[in-house]
């Protein structure tokens, strides 16, 4: 069987190495080198070939067994501590891998002129993006807790440099450090849980040379108290990454200071590691603890939904606003995961994909807007009346915004209604009430999207902005796939639901059935 | 001979009780004398006394080394450095760090108490003595050499390297790096030529006046016109005001002190 995932992980690494090696050479900043930069085309080529590889992976994926982990490989890595290189994806993982792989070329294209013309700087930038891509693909396919942890932390490296080194806000370094500190703090707690997991698993009779394999860990019972503690360890790390109120503080700063492309990769893809981890690690490894914590988690999730939306309404900075909307959406995703219903879980899985497309479109479009401002202002108040000046940009922004507010007909609506309806019938106590409490989120979403649209695009054009160019061809190429994806998935969500239904069913069954022996075997099944 | 046969002779006891209090007193001198050089002398006394105790304790080699190396070399080094720093500079004994004196004293007394207490309460094996324990009757330096160049030869080599390193280190540390380029005769001449427009004279300055009764450096020469030539007197003397008026057609008898007005001249120098 062809190791699709390994190839998908390795190829961007090769790309990063090839492109990045040039960055180690002497700086060529002279005007002579300005026109001959190969960094961007080369990186784009690598990311497009990766897309082709992704198509192959999709072709090889057996959708009739979407709940199994497929396309993977497994090799001993550090047998002394039981770590393996084990990769494999079920339908959910595959969709998230697809999201990462598809967004990278768009982000590269969107950032085409963002980082100046210094070839060395460009090489560093694109190499970091490709490196991040490899890590993201790997983290969504990791089937070994240790491997997952290592990647979970390794992703911070390119992310840190992308925020701090290539951001556009004045506070980018501070934001990068804040991001790093929050993430590392969560990672530290998770590390403690990972270590504890190893020793408890070995104590419970798991083969010490494979003690980090998810499929082995699922089947052992670790004891209630220990399980709950470890659940918390993992959950806090994932909640920080997700981000969930009240550990969200890093996100608005990052969104306001990173470039929109970086924010897209970071918030639309990388942060999914948080919710993905909850879905594929927290729930299967610690089912009892998940049930125990679910009422609390659901409450926090709904608070996140409303809190993020309210904060988004109050923002004056466009990119921070988009960041806050994500807090709200991640609340929905977490709400769905912890309903333990097939509908809610499938909705969350689908929403992870949709949020990536919708918020990605919003971030990138907002980026196009900001890049047009003479002073690159991110303040909403700096814009006015742009619909008549840049109609296509306005339209794209509106569509992305409507996707963010989950307009029916777009993919985000399908997932949101699945989450809400699923949560209403959710297994944890009180989930129906919390689902009802989350519904005002849809009104708040309408307010923050339309208020922003109104301020930026309607009224009389602001002075100095009445001759801005409309979307260029390059920018339209970036926006088109995202909008098309949202529309197609909105009308034919089955295209994606095929991949998430079976994993969702298995998860829900595993968590709600009393005698989970068979379900456990199913959860951990690797092909 | 059986172990534990060491008898300490009365002479040694006497020696100890005479020397030990003196050593302690001298050591305390280190704490209380004001001048560093006095402290050094106290330490010399302690070290020589210690050499005596070494010899009394069947370590003649160490005793000699103590005198030669410590007293002879190390302490001399101390004295050299003291002279470099200023031998007559006396330390102020007032304490500047708050509480340090009491903490220091407390720690010192505490250390003495603890160490002494431990020694007093520890159960030592009966003393053996060195010569008695040596069946071959090998004298001390040889026995020492056997161990030193036998069991500890590697440590010996390492210590040798350490010494060399320390010597080189000291050289490096005390080496002065030249901040300005070295002045040569040529550079001085160049500087003078450059300064010509500022009124510097290239030729040597006129020498002071030479008279029958006074040929002192402090008397200016007289020019062909009978006027005094101020440049003929050293600049330093002029600034100090120690210039002596030249005899003007009359012989001036040197009667007064040449150091008149020294005080004011010193002030001027200070100002300069």
């Amino acid at each position: 069987m062809f190791p699709w995932l390994t190839v998908l992980i390795a190829w961007p690494l090769v790309g990063a190495a090839v492109v990045g090696l040039g960055a180690l050479g002497r700086s060529r900043t002279g005007p002579a080198s300005a026109g001959m930069g190969l960094a961007r085309p080369l990186a784009l080529l690598f990311s497009l070939v990766e897309v082709v590889l992704l198509v192959g992976a999709f072709a090889a994926f057996d959708t009739s067994a979407a709940g199994d982990h497929q396309l993977g490989s497994i090799y001993p890595w550090i047998p002394q501590i039981g770590a393996s290189y084990a990769v494999g994806v079920n339908g959910v993982g595959l969709l998230l891998v697809a999201l990462s792989v598809l967004l990278v070329p768009l982000v590269l294209l969107a950032a085409w002129q963002e980082q100046g013309r210094d070839e060395v700087r460009l090489r560093k930038f694109v190499a970091l993006v490709l490196l991040l891509e490899a890590f993201m693909v790997a983290v969504f396919s990791a089937r070994d807790v240790f491997l997952f942890y290592v990647l979970f932390e390794a992703m911070l490296i390119p992310a840190y440099f992308l925020i701090g080194g290539f951001g556009q806000g004045a506070g980018r370094r501070r934001a990068a450090v804040k991001f790093l500190m929050f993430s590392l703090g969560g990672g530290l707690i998770m590390l403690a849980a990972v270590i504890a997991l190893y020793f408890l698993a070995v104590g419970a009779g798991v083969d010490p040379s494979q003690a980090f394999l998810v499929r082995e860990l699922i089947e052992v019972d670790l004891g209630t108290a220990a399980e709950r503690l470890m659940f918390l360890g993992f959950f806090i790390a994932f909640a920080i990454k997700a981000p969930m109120v009240p550990v969200h503080s890093w996100l608005p700063d990052v969104a306001g200071n990173a470039t929109p492309g970086t924010s897209t990769l970071l918030i639309c893809v990388l942060d999914k590691v948080g919710t993905f981890g909850m879905l594929t690690l927290c729930l299967p490894l610690f089912p009892e603890a998940s049930r125990w914590a679910a009422p609390f988690v659901i409450a926090l999730a709904v608070i996140s939904v409303l809190y993020g939306a309210i904060m988004a309404i109050m923002q004056t900075d466009l990119l921070r606003l988009v960041g806050w909307t994500s807090v709200s959406h991640f609340g929905f995703i977490i709400l769905g995961i912890f309903t333990f219903t097939p509908l809610g879980t499938a909705g969350s899985s689908f929403m992870m994909l949709n949020h990536g497309l919708a918020t990605g479109a919003l971030f990138l479009t907002a980026g196009f807007l900001v890049s047009r401002h003479p002073e690159k202002s991110q303040k909403i108040a700096a814009y006015s009346g742009l619909r008549s000046v840049t109609p296509v940009l306005a339209g794209t922004f509106l569509v992305a915004g409507l996707a963010t507010l989950s307009l029916p007909g777009l993919a985000t609506f399908v997932s949101e209604i699945m989450v809400l309806v699923g949560a209403f019938g959710g297994a944890p106590t009180g989930s129906a009430a919390w689902a009802i409490a989350a519904i005002p989120g849809v009104v708040l979403a309408a307010v923050y999207v339309l208020l922003t649209y109104q301020k930026i695009f309607t009224g009389a054009p602001a002075a100095g902005l009445d001759a801005l160019p409309d979307l260029r061809v390059r920018e339209r190429i970036v926006a088109a796939p995202l909008v098309a994806g949202l529309l197609v998935l909105g009308l034919v969500p089955g295209l994606a639901l095929t991949y998430v239904n079976e994993p969702a069913d298995r998860t829900a069954t595993f968590l709600t059935v009393d005698e989970p022996a068979d379900a456990a075997a199913q959860m951990g099944s690797d092909k | 001979m059986t172990p534990g046969a060491l008898e300490i002779s009365g002479g040694e006891t006497f020696l100890f009780w005479v020397i030990a209090p003196l050593m302690v007193l001298a050591a305390l001198g280190l704490l209380f004398v004001k001048r560093a050089v006095h402290a050094a002398m106290c330490l010399v006394f302690v070290m020589v006394s210690m050499a005596i105790l070494y010899i009394a304790q069947e370590a003649p080699f160490l005793g000699v080394v103590q005198v030669v190396v410590y007293t002879g070399a190390v302490m001399m080094l101390f004295l050299f450095v003291l002279m470099l720093v200023g031998v007559d500079a006396s330390d102020s004994l007032t304490e500047t760090i708050r509480g340090q004196r009491w903490i220091g004293l407390l720690i010192g007394i505490g250390l003495a108490a603890v160490l002494g207490g431990v020694v007093g309460r520890a159960a030592f094996p009966p003393a053996v003595g060195l010569s008695g324990g040596d069946p071959d009757g090998v004298a001390n330096p040889q026995a020492l050499a056997r161990v030193l160049f036998g069991d500890y030869v590697l440590a010996m080599e390492a210590v040798g390297v350490l010494l060399v390193t320390a010597a080189v280190g000291a050289l490096v540390l005390t080496h002065r790096r030249r901040l300005a380029p070295k002045q040569t005769q040529a550079s001085v001449a160049d500087a003078r030529i450059k300064a010509l427009p500022d009124g510097v004279v290239l030729t040597p300055l006129p020498s002071p006046g030479v008279y029958a009764r006074s040929n002192a450096m402090d008397t200016p020469a007289l020019g062909p016109d009978g006027e005094q030539v101020p440049q003929s007197v050293s600049r330093v003397l002029r600034i100090r005001g120690q210039e002596r008026p030249a005899p003007h057609g009359a012989v001036v008898v040197s009667t007064g002190s040449t150091r008149e007005g020294t005080g004011s001249a010193r002030d001027e120098e200070g100002d300069a």
């Binding site: - | 060491l6 100890f16 280190l30 903490i103 010192g108 060195l130 008695g132 030193l148």
Partner: protein, 99 residues
Amino acid sequence: MDITNYVVLAAVLFAIGATTVLLRRNAIVVFMGVELMLNATNLAFVTFARMHGDVTGQVLAFFVMVVAAAEVVVGLAIIVTIFRTRRSASVDDVNLLKG
């Protein structure tokens, strides 16, 4: 007389040396305090060598002397260097590492 009197003497000298290090500000005198401490340990070494009938103690005392010599050379060089730049031999004036 008990041979442990030598050890007690060494202890007392050591404590005085330590106190000197703590209380004196002149770097050279501080150094002397260090030397005194080293000498006190040497006395203890020699005494224990005699007590146990083993010259190894004396060998160690010898090593101590050599190392002390090296230390004095470097230490005094440092003092001289500091004195050149700061015109002072007080250890309290060298507090650039203040936090």
